[in-house]
Amino acid sequence: MSTPTVPSTRSRKSTVFRRALALPQAKIGLTLTAVVVLLAVLGPWLGPWLTGYDTTGFAGKPFHSDGVAGTDGLGRDVFTRFLAGGATLLLYAVLATAIGIVLGTALGMLAGYTGGRLDSIIMRGNDVLLSFPQLVFALLAIAMLGPQGWLLVLVIGITHAPRVARVARQATVAVKDSDYIKAAQLYAMPRRRILLREVLPNITGPLMVELGLRLTYSIGYVASLSFLGLGIQPPAADWGLMINENRIALVLEPWGVLLPVLAIAVLTVGTNLVTDSLASAAAGREKEAAA
């Protein structure tokens, strides 16, 4: 007999995924996300190869030229910069989301499972953090320490954590009194192991939804901070930054703004649709379990 651990867990998770995938909004969402992600990942290589220009160099063409999308105010090829501008944004967003989810889940599960004073301390601390708008908090930190990539990722990740923690705590509280947790206590299973092996696999539904939601927000925040000049710094090509740089010429040369705006919009709508379908698939499973 093969080791049953891995395949069974995977098959179980895939039922939520599969049910989510059966929904039309999931298919649309996944397609939209995939298109933008592919564009962002391949873009930095694809751009110079397609257009023959690099992202920062002067394209040597007049403003408003015959390129695919023209050049910007500094004469750089807009299409090349657009293709290159998603990679960093996406990377930062994914990393920030990962930090937020891991940190938030750990705190939330600990608070929810332990209860009592530890729960109060963690969750009240959480409430304090929650009272700051996420973007303001990020602006504050970056204004103080300077616009650096790692700081951007860290700050967005940390500000996600309390929001994730709330969801993780609630989900944990819902399963912690189940008899299977009691059974684990019966064998004196250590708390860490109960959390990782008994609780965590049973709260993946809501966490997955949270993951999608936080990813959507992360994209928005990284783009916003770059737009404000506190994220990715010039002369790097970045969608958020491009919108800011080219907005003055919006009427004359709209592509410099429109392309990145479109990409960010399609990406967030896409991740949002996927999240939505995951949420309804997970909720469906919970309904089944309750019946």
């Binding site: 007999m1 049953p4 008899d179 019966l186 064998y187 004196a188 696999p201």
Partner: protein
Amino acid sequence: MTAQVTLTHALEVEDLRVNTLAGSPVLKGVSYSIAPGEVLALVGESGSGKTTAGLAALGHFRRGLAPAGGTVTANPRDGQSVEVLGLAERRRRALRGHTLSYVPQDPALSLNPALRIGLQIAEVLEAHGYGASDDERSARVAEVLGEVGLPADEDYQRRYPHQLSGGQQQRVGIAMAFACRPSVVVLDEPTTGLDVTTQTLVLRTVSELTTEHGVAALYITHDLAVVAAIADRVAVMRGGEIVESGTVEEVLRRPSHSYTRELVDAVPDLDGGGELPTPDADAATLRVTDLSVSFGEHRVLSDVSLTVHSGECLLLLGESGSGKTTLSRCVAGLNDDHSGSVELDGTALAASTRRRSADQLRAVQYVFQSPYSSLNPRRTIAQSVEVPLEMLTDLDRAQRRERVGQTLDKVRLSRELAQRLPDQLSGGERQRAAIARALVTTPKVLLCDEVTSALDVSVQATIIDLLCELRAELGTAMVFVTHNIALARHVADRIAVLRGGEIVETGPVDDVLSDPRHEYTRQLLANTPRM
């Protein structure tokens, strides 16, 4: 009641077919009819289609189901007969609660927790335009509360559902169903969650109301003993069909269909019981001394003392709230907030599992009430059974696998089933898996907390048989916690009756059942419905 031949049936269901939206049949041509004043019991195990057949009488189908043929005709006492399935939903809604009414399984879920009960009953009357004035309606509310045996005064009507006991809530549910003087009442397992004493009261209320007001009642249940107590006629369902029907006397005493016979035989009976293994009387394996537990002000257990000998089965009997689960959790080390001591083979056990040795943890095992929540839904059965070995023994992986395999064989679960996740198994299979998990460490004491109450009767019987066999084979001492005194002779050597946190009576099963000393035990015995 059955002797009366009535010309018109209050409800006639003919050749009713119901399919899922995907097209697979749920009901395959079900016919039944009920006369005014008659109680028809619809019996069957979960999945037999009894609830679907019952709800169809109201013209209601659960989501995902649709009628595929047949008729449901209601003949109200004072009005024209109607074919319910042919009506528009709006007209059907007008019938429901008025001519056709319904008592749900769990009153705690069906009553509005934010509305005073008097108002809730009045709401039904108002919705159906019963009575000409508010005065008339409030008079009816008081009257119907009296009819179900509840106080009708203003104070009582101003209570919220949470201020009532389970039995009272269910009687409010019944009052709502009877408020508009319906012709047909469908009762969906209304006593499932209730204690025997309360169950007797509720059954009596239903019985009186139907006879007195000439109401045709359809009583959906899986409990044949309840059927014997309340019904005039029975229809036995299996796989979406009625396999046998007739008067209670005929069906329960002389069942003609093999399935009915199986069901009847599976019902635990106070008098019945097979050969039980004789315990080893000299060694007290488990000794509980002066155990007390309080939750805040509320004292759940006071000075409870028990002994269980090696190889013996003690039936710990108590109704909900008696403290029986708390007691067994204290023994298992799941509740460490207590005074008094728990000893195993003469050594005191620490209150919490965290401070017990691996030997001690292996020696005391626990089977939970509901197999639907006691197995981690994300683990296969084999993995779940392996966990105690991982935590409590030094066996390596191959040895653990072997032990798991042996134990699964003992509870007769195939290796193939063991590779599945819990939700791909039936309730009985899951409970056997849970028993395997408890037995895999070869415990000296096995605590079984209401292990049969979440299961169908016939499954219940196989689980009881299995436990008895295993006990004989392994010599494990057992504490069998239950509210069902009818199981006593089937499983136990001795019995301890718990009430309000105190043991009121204890002794060998035969002595206690044939000559109960305590008034409470006598009451329990009297209230237990018999076939």
